[in-house]
Subunit: 388 residues, 2 copies
Amino acid sequence: MALRDPFRPSEILLLGPGPSPVDPAVAAAMAAPTLGHLDPEFIALMDRVQQDLRVVLGTANRFTIPISGTGSAGMEAAIVNLVEPGDRVVVGVHGVFGGRMVDLVRRQGGEVVVVEAPFGQPLDQEGMARAILGGATRLVGFVHAETSTGVLQPFDGIVSAAREVGALVLGDCVTSLAGAPVEADARGLDAVYSGTQKCLSVPPGLAPFTLSDAAIDRIRGRSGPSTSWYLDVGLLSAYWKEGGDRVYHHTAPVQMVYGLARGLDLVIDEGLEARFERHRAVAAALYRGLDVLGLRCLVDPAFRTPMLTSVGVPEGVDEAGLRRFLRAEHHIEIGAGLGAFRGRAVRIGLMGHGARLTNVRRLVAALGDGLSRVGHPVDVGAALRAVG
Amino acid sequence: MALRDPFRPSEILLLGPGPSPVDPAVAAAMAAPTLGHLDPEFIALMDRVQQDLRVVLGTANRFTIPISGTGSAGMEAAIVNLVEPGDRVVVGVHGVFGGRMVDLVRRQGGEVVVVEAPFGQPLDQEGMARAILGGATRLVGFVHAETSTGVLQPFDGIVSAAREVGALVLGDCVTSLAGAPVEADARGLDAVYSGTQKCLSVPPGLAPFTLSDAAIDRIRGRSGPSTSWYLDVGLLSAYWKEGGDRVYHHTAPVQMVYGLARGLDLVIDEGLEARFERHRAVAAALYRGLDVLGLRCLVDPAFRTPMLTSVGVPEGVDEAGLRRFLRAEHHIEIGAGLGAFRGRAVRIGLMGHGARLTNVRRLVAALGDGLSRVGHPVDVGAALRAVG
């Protein structure tokens, strides 16, 4: 009997909104033998991962763990624990992911006050502050780097307003973490979640997550349990208990934890500041190349996040066709525009291991090739020289 | 500057309650290059995984997917979608995992009727039927193979009673799937969840999951949305939509899906019946070896599940010490007893790739060595000959 052939994926350079290219060292770490989830060696690794996550998140929070799900599970973990029925929650919506937060708060019975910004623009911090101060706000949520647009949200004013009314602040740092400064403690975030598949360059499957002591106190004071057992912070903290007797909760995704641990090693080896600077420099090179190709970045430079860039597609060019061409002929993935950008923009991600000049060169050449073939001749050589 | 050393786990033979040993072919599949979660090649793999899950679960259910979390996330996915506030839910508790189901139903506002069995024994089906028929039961939940005890639960009588009152039936098949027959359709299960880290021999991180059309209809008729966004069946079905335009929901754990796909290949290559017979034969060999060592299986042979065996530890032997000895000197992991068995039993798992005679021999020799060193001399040679 013929046995089944294994699936053999193509090698695609991942320059879309994520997942990003996995660092080979991470892939190697994930191939290590599986340990039991209560094995002493695995428990030592859990301790190390918690400590390293604190460094990367910029926090001393005791409750700092990877949630056993993708970034969206991190969002859910924050909200099912922090929101009780009737809670007033202000959510800033400047793209797709803020909208999800609104949905999730409503599912917990929270009363959402939505503050919107036009697609591709940041939230107005004064508008956020007015909404926060306009009632007994318990929680404020916003997205730091909106993956659907490429906007990096300033949030000092949001945090100040929240402090005034005793509201906690939740930041979605899925795309920003390890690519741009998060500094949870210094900048006043009480709850942060992220994902492994963006600037950490680990495959998708875990959500780095942290809660301040104030957030933990809020959860301890809940009038009833969270709707979730899998994401219940009280139960999770008994399993992710450094230096203590760990109480089995669920079976940790062991191989994913290996990958995250190695990804964190690489971030710490490189240094956070050097890593942020690399993301900025590589993004700047992309902007130069796009400019020569006649392609326009849709987000104001003052609010652009370096790891994700929304790029307008010239009138008459089919953006889906352009992406298919890049995928088929250059083995590069870029992302579709979302929301108001659907059909008229693409999204380019230069994240973690993917944020390298070589990749910018390969992408700029491929984009130039794609444009030239649909009647938009461009000077690819000049664009590559502009990249540097 | 010295760079960090990667984590290098020991090679431990995993003969506890899970995770089980990962098949090398699965590990190889997981090392393949990461694709985007909307890449056409990945989407083709998703189709294949859904189809293969149907074969292994024994179902034609359209909604058959891997949930992006461990087995407990599968339990949560079933209950947050199927239970609404005020629903009468009968849960059979014959170990730790039934207790979790009770907790989760209560978190959704369901009214739980608990039917208990003593630890190490199956649920009394007549008692379950009485509870089911005793009110307007909407859902019945039970654990097929209780990982905390090693009991395999018969359930034909449970399903019959549920049918009488129009209740749906939810089976926890985390430990049984691909090691003992589940046959969801033929045996009348409306909802089944499992885990990858037991008899599928894939690392932990995904929960195979299926819902019957009746279960889907129940969810469509809900009066309000599920408390979960991450596990919302309506949203998940738009992403895991075979042959259609897939709507992005969350970023699938790509590498884990590669692993599951390969694990399913291996199950289908071996054949379900041959695989079940292998688990039975290897368990029987274990029982013979344990008998010669003077160790007693705690579950009645009529209700023993082949892939997980609770074994009493002789009076005067420290079970934690015995497990530590096996881990340190023989590089074998076995599990602690739970609940009523805590401190007086160990749990031995022979699951998937781990269910091989070689492993039974290695374990029997190690157990004999451990017993001999604490004043319980045994004839290891005779035990190995009994294994065969």
